[in-house]
Protein backbone atom coordinates (compact mmCIF):
# COMPACT_ATOMS: atom_id res chain seq x y z
CA UNK A 1 0.00 0.00 0.00
CA UNK A 2 1.37 3.34 -0.96
CA UNK A 3 0.28 5.10 2.19
CA UNK A 4 2.34 2.98 4.56
CA UNK A 5 3.73 4.92 7.44
CA UNK A 6 7.48 4.63 7.79
CA UNK A 7 9.46 4.71 10.98
CA UNK A 8 11.16 7.95 11.73
CA UNK A 9 14.41 6.92 13.27
CA UNK A 10 17.88 8.33 13.34
CA UNK A 11 19.64 7.05 10.25
CA UNK A 12 23.13 8.24 11.22
CA UNK A 13 24.04 6.73 14.60
CA UNK A 14 25.71 8.88 17.21
CA UNK A 15 29.43 8.81 16.65
CA UNK A 16 31.79 10.00 19.35
CA UNK A 17 34.50 10.78 16.84
CA UNK A 18 32.32 12.99 14.77
CA UNK A 19 29.45 14.35 16.84
CA UNK A 20 29.29 17.17 19.36
CA UNK A 21 28.44 15.39 22.57
CA UNK A 22 27.77 16.26 26.20
CA UNK A 23 27.43 13.47 28.75
CA UNK A 24 28.93 10.07 29.41
CA UNK A 25 29.11 7.33 26.79
CA UNK A 26 27.21 4.93 29.02
CA UNK A 27 24.29 7.27 29.70
CA UNK A 28 20.92 5.54 29.75
CA UNK A 29 19.32 8.07 27.43
CA UNK A 30 20.58 9.71 24.28
CA UNK A 31 18.98 12.94 23.11
CA UNK A 32 19.91 14.18 19.64
CA UNK A 33 18.85 17.63 18.50
CA UNK A 34 18.81 18.83 14.92
CA UNK A 35 18.89 22.58 15.30
CA UNK A 36 19.27 25.91 13.54
CA UNK A 37 20.93 28.78 15.45
CA UNK A 38 18.61 31.40 13.99
CA UNK A 39 15.38 29.47 14.49
CA UNK A 40 13.27 30.96 17.30
CA UNK A 41 11.82 27.55 18.23
CA UNK A 42 15.34 26.23 18.73
CA UNK A 43 16.03 29.30 20.81
CA UNK A 44 13.01 28.44 22.93
CA UNK A 45 14.17 24.83 23.29
CA UNK A 46 17.68 25.87 24.31
CA UNK A 47 16.99 26.64 28.00
CA UNK A 48 14.66 23.63 28.23
CA UNK A 49 17.38 21.28 27.08
CA UNK A 50 19.78 22.91 29.53
CA UNK A 51 17.27 22.28 32.28
CA UNK A 52 16.75 18.67 31.20
CA UNK A 53 20.51 18.17 31.23
CA UNK A 54 20.77 19.66 34.69
CA UNK A 55 18.03 17.45 36.06
CA UNK A 56 19.16 14.21 34.44
CA UNK A 57 22.85 14.73 34.97
CA UNK A 58 25.00 11.81 33.93
CA UNK A 59 22.06 9.73 32.82
CA UNK A 60 21.76 11.85 29.68
CA UNK A 61 23.92 12.07 26.59
CA UNK A 62 23.14 15.12 24.47
CA UNK A 63 24.16 15.51 20.84
CA UNK A 64 23.77 18.59 18.68
CA UNK A 65 23.63 18.37 14.89
CA UNK A 66 23.22 21.19 12.40
CA UNK A 67 20.07 21.73 10.43
CA UNK A 68 20.26 25.29 9.09
CA UNK A 69 17.21 26.27 7.03
CA UNK A 70 18.87 29.05 5.09
CA UNK A 71 15.77 29.82 3.03
CA UNK A 72 14.16 31.21 6.17
CA UNK A 73 17.25 32.07 8.19
CA UNK A 74 19.92 33.92 6.26
CA UNK A 75 22.48 33.81 9.10
CA UNK A 76 21.97 30.20 10.13
CA UNK A 77 24.61 28.64 7.91
CA UNK A 78 27.33 31.11 8.84
CA UNK A 79 26.47 30.69 12.52
CA UNK A 80 26.69 26.91 12.18
CA UNK A 81 30.07 27.27 10.51
CA UNK A 82 31.23 29.55 13.32
CA UNK A 83 30.36 26.85 15.86
CA UNK A 84 32.22 24.27 13.80
CA UNK A 85 35.31 26.47 13.65
CA UNK A 86 35.06 26.87 17.41
CA UNK A 87 34.82 23.07 17.66
CA UNK A 88 38.16 22.64 15.94
CA UNK A 89 39.59 24.91 18.65
CA UNK A 90 37.88 22.98 21.45
CA UNK A 91 35.11 25.50 22.12
CA UNK A 92 32.08 24.08 20.36
CA UNK A 93 29.66 24.18 23.27
CA UNK A 94 30.74 27.62 24.40
CA UNK A 95 30.01 28.95 20.91
CA UNK A 96 26.79 26.94 20.63
CA UNK A 97 25.56 28.55 23.85
CA UNK A 98 26.62 32.06 22.87
CA UNK A 99 24.82 31.74 19.54
CA UNK A 100 21.58 30.62 21.13
CA UNK A 101 21.83 33.32 23.77
CA UNK A 102 22.29 35.94 21.05
CA UNK A 103 20.03 34.66 18.31
CA UNK A 104 19.21 38.07 16.98
CA UNK A 105 22.81 39.04 16.61
CA UNK A 106 24.32 36.60 14.14
CA UNK A 107 25.85 38.91 11.55
CA UNK A 108 29.44 38.26 10.54
CA UNK A 109 30.79 40.95 12.86
CA UNK A 110 28.79 39.46 15.74
CA UNK A 111 30.21 35.99 15.11
CA UNK A 112 33.70 37.47 15.06
CA UNK A 113 33.06 39.21 18.37
CA UNK A 114 31.99 35.87 19.92
CA UNK A 115 35.16 34.27 18.57
CA UNK A 116 37.19 36.98 20.26
CA UNK A 117 35.23 36.64 23.46
CA UNK A 118 35.96 32.91 23.54
CA UNK A 119 39.63 33.53 22.90
CA UNK A 120 39.68 31.71 19.59
CA UNK A 121 42.42 32.20 17.05
CA UNK A 122 40.50 34.92 15.22
CA UNK A 123 42.66 34.91 12.12
CA UNK A 124 42.06 31.22 11.64
CA UNK A 125 38.38 31.79 12.46
CA UNK A 126 38.07 34.40 9.70
CA UNK A 127 39.91 32.23 7.24
CA UNK A 128 37.88 29.10 7.86
CA UNK A 129 34.62 31.00 7.70
CA UNK A 130 35.60 32.75 4.49
CA UNK A 131 36.60 29.45 2.90
CA UNK A 132 33.58 27.58 4.24
CA UNK A 133 35.87 24.83 5.47
CA UNK A 134 33.10 23.26 7.55
CA UNK A 135 30.22 23.62 5.10
CA UNK A 136 30.48 20.02 3.98
CA UNK A 137 30.20 18.64 7.48
CA UNK A 138 27.18 20.83 8.16
CA UNK A 139 25.59 19.59 4.97
CA UNK A 140 26.27 16.02 6.10
CA UNK A 141 24.44 16.76 9.34
CA UNK A 142 21.62 18.33 7.36
CA UNK A 143 21.23 15.38 5.01
CA UNK A 144 21.34 12.87 7.84
CA UNK A 145 18.51 14.87 9.40
CA UNK A 146 16.48 14.91 6.20
CA UNK A 147 16.88 11.14 5.90
CA UNK A 148 15.88 10.71 9.53
CA UNK A 149 12.63 12.60 9.03
CA UNK A 150 13.56 15.99 10.44
CA UNK A 151 10.55 18.10 9.54
CA UNK A 152 11.40 21.41 11.09
CA UNK A 153 13.67 22.70 13.80
CA UNK A 154 14.29 21.69 16.40
CA UNK A 155 13.68 17.99 15.86
CA UNK A 156 14.64 15.72 18.75
CA UNK A 157 15.44 12.01 18.83
CA UNK A 158 15.29 10.03 22.04
CA UNK A 159 17.35 6.87 21.85
CA UNK A 160 17.15 7.07 18.09
CA UNK A 161 13.38 7.52 17.73
CA UNK A 162 11.91 10.86 16.71
CA UNK A 163 10.20 12.63 19.58
CA UNK A 164 6.92 13.99 18.27
CA UNK A 165 5.57 15.03 21.65
CA UNK A 166 5.81 18.29 23.52
CA UNK A 167 9.04 20.23 24.03
CA UNK A 168 7.93 21.57 27.36
CA UNK A 169 10.12 20.60 30.24
CA UNK A 170 7.89 18.11 32.10
CA UNK A 171 6.58 16.09 29.14
CA UNK A 172 10.03 16.06 27.58
CA UNK A 173 11.54 14.78 30.83
CA UNK A 174 8.91 12.07 31.03
CA UNK A 175 9.63 11.00 27.45
CA UNK A 176 13.34 10.91 28.22
CA UNK A 177 12.79 8.87 31.39
CA UNK A 178 10.62 6.46 29.43
CA UNK A 179 13.32 6.20 26.80
CA UNK A 180 15.80 5.33 29.50
CA UNK A 181 13.51 2.78 31.08
CA UNK A 182 12.41 0.92 27.97
CA UNK A 183 15.74 0.61 26.25
CA UNK A 184 19.13 -0.36 27.39
CA UNK A 185 20.78 2.78 26.24
CA UNK A 186 21.57 2.96 22.56
CA UNK A 187 24.98 4.48 22.78
Amino acid sequence: MSTTRWKTVLTMPVNRERDHIQGPADAAVTLVEYGDYECPYCGAAYPIIKEVQARMGRRLLFVFRNFPITTSHPHAEQAAEAAEVAATQGKFWQMHDLLYENQRRLRDQDLRAYAEKLGLDVELFDKELAEHVHAERIHEDFLSGVRSGVNGTPTLYINGARHDGSYEIEPLLRALERGGASERGTR
Binding site: T71, S72, V146, G149, V150
Partner: protein
Amino acid sequence: MTTTSADHRARPLPAGTKAPDFELPSTPDRTVSLAEFRGQPVILAFYPEDWSPVCSDQMALYQEVLPEFQKFNAELLGISVDGVWSHLAFAKDRNLHFPLLADFEPKGKVARAYHVYRARDGTSERALYVIDGDGIVRWSYVSPVGVNPGADGILRALENLGKEGAS
Protein backbone atom coordinates in the same frame (compact mmCIF):
# COMPACT_ATOMS: atom_id res chain seq x y z
CA MET B 1 -12.70 5.54 21.21
CA THR B 2 -13.52 8.89 19.77
CA THR B 3 -12.17 9.97 16.46
CA THR B 4 -12.54 13.60 15.71
CA SER B 5 -13.21 14.56 12.13
CA ALA B 6 -9.75 16.10 12.03
CA ASP B 7 -8.37 12.57 12.17
CA HIS B 8 -10.22 11.53 9.06
CA ARG B 9 -7.60 11.75 6.46
CA ALA B 10 -8.26 11.26 2.81
CA ARG B 11 -7.05 8.13 1.05
CA PRO B 12 -4.86 9.28 -1.77
CA LEU B 13 -4.64 7.57 -5.14
CA PRO B 14 -2.55 4.45 -4.59
CA ALA B 15 0.69 3.50 -6.30
CA GLY B 16 0.16 2.19 -9.80
CA THR B 17 -2.64 4.66 -10.61
CA LYS B 18 -2.26 6.85 -13.66
CA ALA B 19 -1.74 10.37 -12.32
CA PRO B 20 -4.56 12.66 -13.46
CA ASP B 21 -3.18 15.28 -15.81
CA PHE B 22 -3.67 18.95 -15.02
CA GLU B 23 -2.76 22.38 -16.19
CA LEU B 24 -2.64 25.15 -13.61
CA PRO B 25 -1.28 28.67 -13.42
CA SER B 26 1.92 29.16 -11.43
CA THR B 27 2.20 32.89 -12.14
CA PRO B 28 -0.18 35.37 -13.77
CA ASP B 29 1.31 34.53 -17.16
CA ARG B 30 2.55 30.98 -16.90
CA THR B 31 0.78 27.66 -16.64
CA VAL B 32 2.30 24.32 -15.72
CA SER B 33 0.98 20.96 -16.84
CA LEU B 34 1.89 17.55 -15.53
CA ALA B 35 2.41 16.28 -19.09
CA GLU B 36 5.32 18.63 -19.69
CA PHE B 37 7.43 16.65 -17.22
CA ARG B 38 7.00 13.29 -18.95
CA GLY B 39 10.30 11.44 -18.74
CA GLN B 40 11.22 12.76 -15.31
CA PRO B 41 9.83 12.16 -11.81
CA VAL B 42 7.46 14.76 -10.39
CA ILE B 43 6.91 15.48 -6.70
CA LEU B 44 3.47 16.95 -6.07
CA ALA B 45 3.26 18.57 -2.66
CA PHE B 46 -0.33 19.52 -1.84
CA TYR B 47 -0.56 21.86 1.12
CA PRO B 48 -3.57 23.56 2.69
CA GLU B 49 -2.74 27.24 2.41
CA ASP B 50 0.00 29.77 1.79
CA TRP B 51 1.18 31.61 4.91
CA SER B 52 0.07 29.17 7.59
CA PRO B 53 3.02 28.28 9.84
CA VAL B 54 3.38 24.55 9.15
CA CYS B 55 3.10 25.01 5.39
CA SER B 56 5.83 27.54 5.48
CA ASP B 57 8.19 25.28 7.35
CA GLN B 58 7.39 22.45 4.96
CA MET B 59 7.97 24.50 1.83
CA ALA B 60 11.12 26.08 3.29
CA LEU B 61 12.40 22.59 4.05
CA TYR B 62 11.68 21.45 0.49
CA GLN B 63 13.47 24.47 -0.91
CA GLU B 64 16.45 23.49 1.21
CA VAL B 65 16.29 19.85 0.07
CA LEU B 66 15.68 20.79 -3.59
CA PRO B 67 19.25 19.93 -4.68
CA GLU B 68 18.71 16.40 -3.37
CA PHE B 69 15.47 16.06 -5.34
CA GLN B 70 17.28 17.35 -8.40
CA LYS B 71 19.84 14.57 -8.11
CA PHE B 72 16.98 12.31 -9.18
CA ASN B 73 16.11 14.76 -11.97
CA ALA B 74 12.82 15.25 -10.13
CA GLU B 75 10.61 18.32 -10.52
CA LEU B 76 9.01 19.68 -7.35
CA LEU B 77 5.57 21.32 -7.62
CA GLY B 78 3.81 22.86 -4.65
CA ILE B 79 0.05 23.12 -5.01
CA SER B 80 -2.69 24.77 -2.97
CA VAL B 81 -6.05 26.44 -3.54
CA ASP B 82 -4.51 29.91 -3.19
CA GLY B 83 -4.43 32.25 -6.18
CA VAL B 84 -1.34 33.18 -8.16
CA TRP B 85 -0.82 36.56 -6.49
CA SER B 86 -0.81 34.99 -3.08
CA HIS B 87 1.62 32.35 -4.35
CA LEU B 88 3.90 35.03 -5.79
CA ALA B 89 4.00 37.01 -2.56
CA PHE B 90 4.45 33.86 -0.50
CA ALA B 91 7.28 32.54 -2.69
CA LYS B 92 9.02 35.91 -2.59
CA ASP B 93 8.66 36.26 1.16
CA ARG B 94 9.95 32.74 1.85
CA ASN B 95 12.57 32.55 -0.90
CA LEU B 96 10.93 29.62 -2.63
CA HIS B 97 12.30 28.86 -6.08
CA PHE B 98 10.05 26.11 -7.32
CA PRO B 99 6.60 26.47 -8.91
CA LEU B 100 3.59 26.92 -6.65
CA LEU B 101 0.46 26.00 -8.58
CA ALA B 102 -2.86 27.73 -8.05
CA ASP B 103 -5.65 25.15 -7.77
CA PHE B 104 -7.94 28.13 -7.57
CA GLU B 105 -10.56 28.01 -10.35
CA PRO B 106 -12.47 25.78 -10.33
CA LYS B 107 -11.40 25.64 -6.73
CA GLY B 108 -9.62 22.47 -5.69
CA LYS B 109 -10.27 20.70 -8.97
CA VAL B 110 -6.86 19.06 -9.04
CA ALA B 111 -6.93 18.24 -5.31
CA ARG B 112 -10.27 16.50 -5.91
CA ALA B 113 -8.85 14.55 -8.85
CA TYR B 114 -6.05 13.37 -6.54
CA HIS B 115 -8.54 12.56 -3.74
CA VAL B 116 -7.03 15.03 -1.31
CA TYR B 117 -9.61 17.82 -1.16
CA ARG B 118 -10.98 18.76 2.27
CA ALA B 119 -14.46 19.97 1.44
CA ARG B 120 -15.11 20.99 5.02
CA ASP B 121 -12.17 23.41 5.10
CA GLY B 122 -12.17 24.35 1.44
CA THR B 123 -8.48 23.46 1.19
CA SER B 124 -6.47 20.41 0.30
CA GLU B 125 -4.91 17.86 2.60
CA ARG B 126 -1.22 17.99 3.27
CA ALA B 127 -0.44 15.26 0.76
CA LEU B 128 2.57 14.07 -1.16
CA TYR B 129 2.73 12.29 -4.49
CA VAL B 130 5.74 10.95 -6.33
CA ILE B 131 4.89 10.37 -10.00
CA ASP B 132 7.28 8.59 -12.33
CA GLY B 133 8.41 9.60 -15.81
CA ASP B 134 5.52 7.71 -17.37
CA GLY B 135 2.95 9.63 -15.36
CA ILE B 136 2.19 6.80 -12.94
CA VAL B 137 1.76 7.40 -9.20
CA ARG B 138 4.56 5.52 -7.46
CA TRP B 139 4.06 6.76 -3.92
CA SER B 140 1.45 8.82 -2.08
CA TYR B 141 1.04 9.92 1.46
CA VAL B 142 -1.40 12.08 3.42
CA SER B 143 -0.05 13.69 6.56
CA PRO B 144 -2.21 14.99 9.39
CA VAL B 145 -2.94 18.56 8.35
CA GLY B 146 -0.93 20.08 11.19
CA VAL B 147 2.11 17.85 10.74
CA ASN B 148 4.94 18.61 8.38
CA PRO B 149 5.65 15.27 6.67
CA GLY B 150 9.31 16.05 6.09
CA ALA B 151 11.26 14.95 3.03
CA ASP B 152 12.46 11.45 3.91
CA GLY B 153 9.43 9.70 2.40
CA ILE B 154 9.90 11.57 -0.88
CA LEU B 155 13.59 10.70 -1.08
CA ARG B 156 12.89 7.07 -0.34
CA ALA B 157 10.24 6.97 -3.07
CA LEU B 158 12.61 8.59 -5.56
CA GLU B 159 15.27 6.02 -4.70
CA ASN B 160 12.79 3.21 -5.19
CA LEU B 161 11.97 4.50 -8.69
CA GLY B 162 15.55 3.79 -9.62
CA LYS B 163 15.56 0.34 -7.99
CA GLU B 164 12.41 -0.83 -9.69
CA GLY B 165 14.04 0.04 -12.99
CA ALA B 166 11.24 0.33 -15.55
CA SER B 167 10.29 3.90 -16.44
